[in-house]
Amino acid sequence: MTPEHELESEDDEAPEEVTFQNAKSRAEESARVKRELASRDKALLKEKRKRKQELFSEQKKKKLLPEDILQTVTALSDKKNEAHEPYADTEGKGDVEKEKSVKKNPSKKLRPRKSLKNNYDVVHLNDQNVADIQQEQAKQFLQDKFYGNTKNRTTANDFLSISRKRGERKMPAFQFTDSSWGEKEKKKASTFNLRWRNRKKL
């Protein structure tokens, strides 16, 4: 507290006199309140988490069928497998089913349990072999060479319009004679017009 500061302040009153004891007790009080608040928040959060956890477990239980049904189902599928074994050579439905059931069991065991977000998919890199990559590259090469940046391509619309303009029988540009051209744009324009009219109260 410098005298300059005192001079600058607009208040004419002298600063309030606070004893050291008083200040200390006040500071302690405020610190305690803060600590209490923090602990209460923590407890609340804990409670919330606990409730959520309970909800999850309850949902999981709901999803699962009752224990006895599950057991019967597993028993049945085992029986089915056994029943189909003798018909392994016969063709038709049984064969297909058997294949399915045989396929399903090991795949379920082998597949690692991983949760992925919706947009992602697990792919074996080996599946996309060299031939496919080469084919892809060849197609890309053709695409670049025919329709790449360096090629001076125009649109079918321009092309037809110019040929109509330069032809012996002069005709309007293609988009004006072909009703199916640019349907999206026309729809957009009509809705815009409608809105505009509504806005202007015409």
Partner: protein
Amino acid sequence: MGEFTVHCVRFFNYVPSGVRCISYSEETERLAVARNDGSVEVYNFPANYYQEKIIPGDEKRSTESICWVPGGRLFSGGLNGDIIEYDLERLCVKYSVNGFGGPIWNIVPSPCGTQLAVACEDGSVKLFAITPERIVFGKSLDRQKERILCLAWHPSGSHIVAGSINTIKVFNVSSGHLLQVMRMDRRALVGQKRECIVWGVAVLSCGEIASVDSSGKLQFWDLETGTLIRSYTASSSDILSIAVSPEEDSLVIGTAQGAILQFQYLERQAGKEEKQWVSTKPFQHHTRDVLSVAHSNTCLISGGLDGNIVIRPLLERIQTKTYEAALRKITFPHRNLVSCAQASRLLLFQFPDHLELWRLGHTDQSGKDGDILPVTQEHELLLQLKRKGSENIRCSCISRCGTLVSYATASRLFLHRLRYDNNNFSISKVPKFTQPPTAALHLKFSPDSKQLYVGTEGGRVHIMDLSEDTCQHNHTLQPPSGTWAASSYPVHLLATSSDGSLLAVASSNSQIDIYNVKSLSYLCSVPQYNSPPTAISIHPSNKNLVIAYADHQVVEFSISEKQYTDWGRKVIKHGLHHDWLERDTPIMGITFNPSKSKTILLHDNYMFCIIDKSLPLPDDKTVLVNQKTLKNLSVSARMSHAHAFKITRKYQPLLFMDLLDNGELVLVERTLSDIQAQLPPPMKRKQFGT
């Protein structure tokens, strides 16, 4: 009120697939065309350029190059790395051999036809020996770094020239070593060197190499020394293809702007020995890139990304300057992609990868001749049926009552049942369905929808019995063994009589057999003609078979008397009008008007015709297309000028025609500008004042 209420259908959204490569065989006079959707077509040149065979494509194989090998064998190579031989009798892939060099860019047979050179993505040129059954890998030439895009054999078979990126390479065939490397001029573009891609090479017997590249140059090189002899800047865009005539006095190139240019080897001055290549004729028949050209003895053939095949006969090589010298442009397929359920007013459109089922619109008003009636019920798309698997659809059919839809791919036949109750519409697969013993090439339902006729290889027809939920093979109609060579030709057309008792089966060698389907017995055959039939139909009341051939002849055959009818004989004796015989496209559909038994309705791509058998046939002095002038004449004068062929060109290009049960006529049109609007983007061409 006119004779017919006409449905002018314009919602068939057909876009031809671009032509990727073509190959012409002087030996068999056939043109093979491979399209971007993987399908392969064979055109028969002596029979008026008729599209004789179609092998449907597959999504998994794309064709980059196709070639004929002596003996009428057809090979193709594609980006999936397989070399395929086609079975032209069963219309399918005979076998495929992997080249083990990655995607294949070009395959060329050696001049003697014993070896097949294959240009691969990995920079190798592989030689396969052609044996009667298969092709066998022989050897590989020196492997290069860059992909090899095009190949050409020296006419003596001693050298192979390969075009790559920025370079042309010459190989010795016997040693397999690289002899010469010729580097292309890489025109700089704003400080950056541009790649120069050699799109095509050809070797002349004098030892000169002709090459075309992406800088728009046609260049001639010396094979021995590897030096540039002459260079012509022929186009401002890429030049994509080159072909040399068998006599080597003319060559043709195709550009990305859709132009084809002919160069001829001519004397510099009259009477002097010295000759030079001179650009003589530019033609602009295509709107998109010309990816492939061929040069036969008498004509230039080009196929473009716009789906057109153009045959330009060279006038100096043809003695008679007549119909044969006219330009031919093939845009539409010579087979029906549309089928009609006459009883329930449905149309089934066939696309390579799906089917579309539409219900026709309806009007309850009537008007004068030529009026356009307002539609009270709009046409609607009922169903879009996607194919199963990767194979393209070969043929499709809807039953007369509209409750059954069948389609076939190269390997499988599919049958679906449709149900309509009030506004509900449902489709279900026929549950108990057995595949016919051999692949289906042509499909037709019997008029009562109780049987499905499946035309297949060797002129045979499988009869499949249909009930509510089953479809089983019942019987196979075999052509009688006495008819010559009938066993090797596939079924091309089928026609049933309206009471369902008769079935006419036509093969592409113009063998037409007639069977009684009720007793499953062979009845008779039509006398064989030298041109393939393009459309057949059986008259509903008098059971006469009307046949249109590829050389535009129309004949009528009486099945009950097993001979040509009187009218048919009269037509053959009198001959048809020369304007009729000089049309461009074959007759694609024939139907009859049950209310007027004396008339025949037929159409090709550019006209619709009603033949009135009671009127006299036109001779060459009368005008063939005279309907407009007749309209202005008085009634008595009209009678004296009228002739049997009543033709209108009002509806074109016409893809399909049929008569509904209530007497309404359905005409399916596809305008060329609609197709143009949906093709891939063209090259920009600067035109003055635009």
